[in-house]
Subunit: 246 residues, 2 copies
C-alpha cells in the first residue's frame, strides 16, 4: 500500500470502506457521507460522481449497487489518491476515477446515458485570490474557481437519461441559486433535506434530489437531520451513517 | 358581546387575546400563531394583514407595536367576526378590519406606504368545484378561488416601502412557486423556517420573510420547529407561543 507525503488511511465503518486522505490536500467530510446516503441508488446502470475529490462518495455507494461508477475530478493529485483507494478496496472492476475537467465529460461518457449523478461541488462563490485558501488544492475544492454551480448542474443534466436522478449537497444560503440552476437545466427538485448542526442552530447543509424532465410539483421537505445533541455527541441517525449502528 | 349562530370565543393565552371563531366559517390555526411570531414587528408605522380571515394575526401582534394595523378580508362574514373581535379586545383605535377584495387594496392604502405585510393566504391551487370544500366559507379560505399566490405577493410588494418586510405562511410543497412569486415581485427571501409536525415527519408548514428590493444573498434557514414530541404533546417552543410559557 503506497501512502505519499502526509497521507493517511481513514475508514468509513458503516460501509466498510478505506479511503486515502491528506489534510493538506483533501479529506472527505460529513457532507460526502450525507450525499452518499441521500438519493435512491439504482441497482444497475451508470452512476457518475462529479467533483469527486478523493472519490469518497463513489466508494461509499459501491456496495449498494452493481452499477458502473465513474468519478470525475479535475485535480490530478486528488484523482491519484482516489484511484489508489479504488484499488485498495478492490473495486477497480466497478469504480473508475477519471482525471478530467468536467467540461470534457462528454469526451468520456455519452449524453443521456446515466441513471444517477451525484455532486459535492465547491460551495463558495469565487473570491479574489487573496481571500480564498492559500492552499491551492483546498481552494479549488471549496471555491468556484474552475467551475461553478450552473456548469455543474447543466453537466449533470446532460449526462442523465430522461427521469434520471441528480443528487447534490450544498449550503442552504445558496438555495435560490441552486433552484434557479436546476430549473435552467430541466431538473425538477423532488426531495430537499436541511441538516442542522444542533437543534437550535440554522441549517448549514442542504441536500437536494431532482429528476430530469420531472414535473414541478410534489416537492417534499424531508425530516430535519440534526447532527449533534445537546452534549455535542453525534445524534443516533448520524452515528448510523458513520459507524453502521446508532 | 354578540355571538352569532355557532360562534364561540377562543383565547390565545400567550397574547391575552380573545377571538370570535366559528367551526363552520373560519377558525384560526397554529399557522396564524406561527406567522404572528415570525417576522420582526416594527415598533411603529403601518402593518397590513392580507387574507386576514377572522383577524387573528393582526390581533396577535397588536400588543407588540404601536403601528396601525389594517386587515383586509374578502369574506363579509369573516370580516364581521374580525371587527367584533377588535371591539371585544378594545383595539379599535389601533386595528381596523376592511371588508375588501385585495384587488381593491389601493383604494384604501397608498402604494409604498407600509412597513410590514403579513399573509396567511389560501394554500391550495384552485380545483374543480366538486373537489373543494362544499362549505363556501372554508373553500374560499383554503383554495385559490378569489386570488392566487402571485396576486397576493404582488399586492404585498406594492404596499411595502423600499426595504419593508413581507412575512408569509404557506405549505412546503409550494416552495418553488413561492420563491418564483417573490422574485417576480422584487421581494428577496432572507429567512425561511420549516415546521415539522413531528421530528421524523416531512415539513408541513413553511414560514418565509422577505425584504422589498433586498439583496439576493444571506438567506438563512432557521432552526427546525417541531410541533409535537414523541408522546403527541406540544413541544416547549409551541406551548410558549400558545400559552406564554413552555
Amino acid at each position: 500500500m503506497n501512502l505519499r507525503d502526509d497521507e493517511r488511511l481513514d475508514a468509513l465503518y458503516a460501509n466498510d470502506i478505506q479511503i486515502i486522505q491528506s489534510p493538506s490536500v483533501f479529506s472527505f467530510s460529513l457532507d460526502a457521507v450525507l450525499l452518499a446516503n441521500f438519493p435512491r441508488i439504482p441497482k444497475r446502470g451508470t452512476v457518475v460522481d462529479l467533483c469527486a475529490g478523493n472519490g469518497a462518495v463513489g466508494l461509499f455507494i459501491a456496495k449498494k449497487t452493481t452499477a458502473k461508477i465513474h468519478q470525475i475530478e479535475i485535480q490530478e493529485r486528488l484523482a491519484d489518491m482516489g484511484q489508489r483507494s479504488i484499488t485498495l478496496n478492490q473495486l477497480a472492476d466497478q469504480v473508475t476515477m477519471h482525471h478530467l475537467d468536467l467540461k470534457e465529460t462528454f469526451s468520456l461518457l455519452p449524453k443521456e446515458s446515466c441513471d444517477l449523478v451525484l455532486c459535492n461541488p465547491p460551495y463558495f462563490k469565487s473570491a479574489p485570490l487573496h481571500k480564498t485558501n492559500p492552499n491551492e488544492h483546498l481552494a479549488l475544492a471549496r471555491h468556484e474557481i474552475t467551475t461553478n454551480l450552473q456548469e455543474v448542474v447543466t453537466c449533470a443534466s446532460q449526462l442523465l437519461k430522461m427521469k434520471g436522478h441528480f443528487a447534490l449537497v450544498h449550503r442552504p444560503e445558496r438555495l435560490l441559486d441552486i433552484l434557479a440552476a436546476l430549473k435552467t437545466a430541466r431538473l425538477a427538485p423532488k426531495r430537499i433535506q436541511f441538516v442542522y448542526p444542533k437543534a437550535e442552530k440554522d441549517a448549514n447543509i442542504l441536500l437536494v434530489e431532482a429528476i430530469k424532465d420531472g414535473k414541478e410539483d410534489g416537492l417534499k421537505i424531508l425530516p430535519p437531520l440534526v447532527v449533534y445533541d445537546e452534549h455535542d455527541q453525534y445524534q443516533p441517525a448520524i452515528k448510523e451513517l458513520l459507524y453502521g449502528q446508532p
